[in-house]
Subunit: 134 residues, 4 copies
């Protein structure tokens, strides 16, 4: 398994905050997706949009643990790495840190099944799989 | 033009609030959509899901005026009516009221173009048009 | 631990769908919140808005497993139950079913820490705790 | 009035797409906010987070016209400029272009009222006002 980590920087949007003054938890799963998309772009060397025209990677599982909150306009670093890779499925792990002090705010994982354009489970294309495996 | 108004009740979700403690403004446009869907169900007498398998109603315009904020768990009444109906386009108007005291929180409008399953502008199907026209 | 289950019905909004034509996964965590709020309203017998003016219940963990997708306008039943209750923390479990055929679409859980209005961990108020414990 | 335009680049997230395969319209209002926040950072020379700890800028109006759709992973350029500035209110105008071909996808505007930390309408602080006026 590759130890490659891809990171993206993003700012907490006002829309993502809630009445507690912190980023609402469901947004972390969206930030995971932003890092996962970047992983495809960088590691697979392909526009994620192109890949996702022919294949889907629907989630079968998602989890997160939240250690510290973040607030509007905080600059975050979200990292993604592949933690498991099989012929038809893939698992990513994520970390969310505040850029300023590198404090770890949350970790998470998502599991995905590869499906074809008709939604049927299928093998991950070999070139994509090799790229993901590093 | 029909004067028919369709209303839906919905509660402000915590996810919809922001750091000011009130519902974030972009959610009003989603609530408009909830009322618009209900309009199709009730007036056109058809599942909106079925209609939207064959046609699209992408927005060409959207606007809102916000008079009073609303907060987590507030029960709202959102009403929709057709304010303009042409062969290929339709316009809806909306009101958002707090149910408890009927205070008007916001008004809005959206304009839509009818497109076929390939995204090309097309005439609104005649049965749908007649139903919408009341 | 109470075996009480509270359920809410909700329709998938168009805004909640994604380019795969199904509800995007992060929305399930928002639907969990809708059921959790209802749990407070029914079981604790108190407006969740009032409780959340004085206390917070930030998430420390969240997870979900997704079995089947759902689509625009699908009517869903989301159930919540308390699966663990301690002096300062609480855990909920959720199920999401399509109402029409009762197919189980997803399950999930969230863990929460009780905090006071200054964000410090605190005991869950005794009346709330007793109500939650059934 | 300053003619200064501030722009931000952002990618369409999968979460922002809908079942039509395009970015759902309410997200444009969130993108407007991202550009508006950047405007504060660059022109006012102040962290928007700091400003918004003491003041609020709730929307009184929002509108958008949508010309062309955009899709998952499209790179967008969103520009913001101040189109009207009064002692207690401010209006922004926005443009959304696809970066690749500079095609104009949408335009919009938002009107805001300045409020203090208690939510009462107040004058925009003079230093902020002068910076905004260019």
């Amino acid at each position: 398994m590759s130890d490659r980590r891809i990171e993206v920087a993003l700012r907490v949007r006002y829309a993502e905050t809630d009445a507690l003054g912190v980023a609402y938890h469901s947004n972390y799963f969206i930030w995971f997706e932003v890092a996962r998309s970047e992983y495809f772009r960088v590691v697979v060397g392909e526009s994620p949009a192109e890949f996702f025209q022919h294949y889907g990677m629907p989630l079968t599982e998602a989890s997160a643990r939240f250690f510290k909150p973040c607030r509007y306009d905080d600059l975050l670093i979200v990292t993604a790495r592949v933690s498991d890779l099989r012929s038809r499925s893939i698992e990513f792990e994520y970390e969310v840190r505040r850029k300023e002090d590198q404090v770890l705010l949350a970790i998470g994982h998502t599991s995905h099944l590869c499906v074809d354009s008709e939604g049927k489970p299928c093998r991950i294309p070999v070139l994509v799989r090799e790229a993901l495996a590093g």
